[in-house]
Symmetry: C2
Subunit: 147 residues, 2 copies
């Protein structure tokens, strides 16, 4: 038997990389989450292409990302207008984002971007359309240097 | 100097223990999340006191919990009626739930239950009121045997 035939590649989501939370005011919300998590915000970053300002907190192997809209054009502004402040998305860390995107397309899911794009915190990212994921906006993230 | 005075206890959320997702139909949603996460559901459990049926998946150090209402009395039924299917809460693992509850009350947050209560998956749990947490329903969880 050819040993290559018995070697089946199992691709799995490695962990929850972060949870994205839509907030109206980043400064006020940083103070709130510093109290909840009992740890300091370790980074803020503006992602102009997405029209958001972000702030990051660690919780063991996971992160919390606060997202404040920079303008009314931001999808975060529209989210808050419709649903109010709250959890916006879950991001899973993957080993190889292109392979994972292909696997999910083959399984019938819809990607919101055909190619990985540059996200916050030095990551390549891709989103899945929530219509086929029980209303959950799911992001795949891969470390830029990981591949 | 008294060494006890220099010993400040730092309590932090240890990790995201799980994300809770409200779904209409558990069986259908298990199939969807088995595809997304590329792993099998490892447990289902009914929590009659909360009127929910739950299903669990692993993602590295974290879990995904699907929540299906058992009846119209379930808070999950009301959540889906108002907001649709989607992310319902974030649960953080804590070392000592009573101490963490006290710390958060002292910081001005509101607890939804005064004493830890029995949750799914053999845990003691407590929820924070989302009005002071940017609309995010936050659960504290402690392993029943951990203390």
């Amino acid at each position: 038997m050819n040993p290559a035939l018995s070697k089946i590649e199992i691709i799995q989501m490695k962990k929850i990389e972060h949870i994205g939370i839509a907030v109206k005011n980043l400064e006020d919300s940083i103070a709130v989450f510093e109290q909840i998590l009992n740890t300091n915000c370790y980074k803020t970053e503006s992602v102009d292409s997405e029209q958001v300002n972000t702030a990051f907190f660690s919780s063991g192997p996971n992160k919390i990302e606060l997202l404040e809209p920079q303008s009314e054009e931001s999808v975060i502004h529209k989210f808050i207008e419709t649903k109010g402040e709250g959890i916006h998305h879950i991001a899973f860390e993957v080993e190889n984002i292109e392979k994972e995107m292909q696997r999910l397309v083959n399984a019938g899911f819809t990607l919101l971007n055909d190619k990985p794009k540059q996200g916050a915190d030095g990551k390549l990212v891709c989103f899945l359309h929530p219509k086929k994921t029980n209303g959950v906006l799911i992001e795949l993230v891969m470390d830029y240097k990981a591949k």
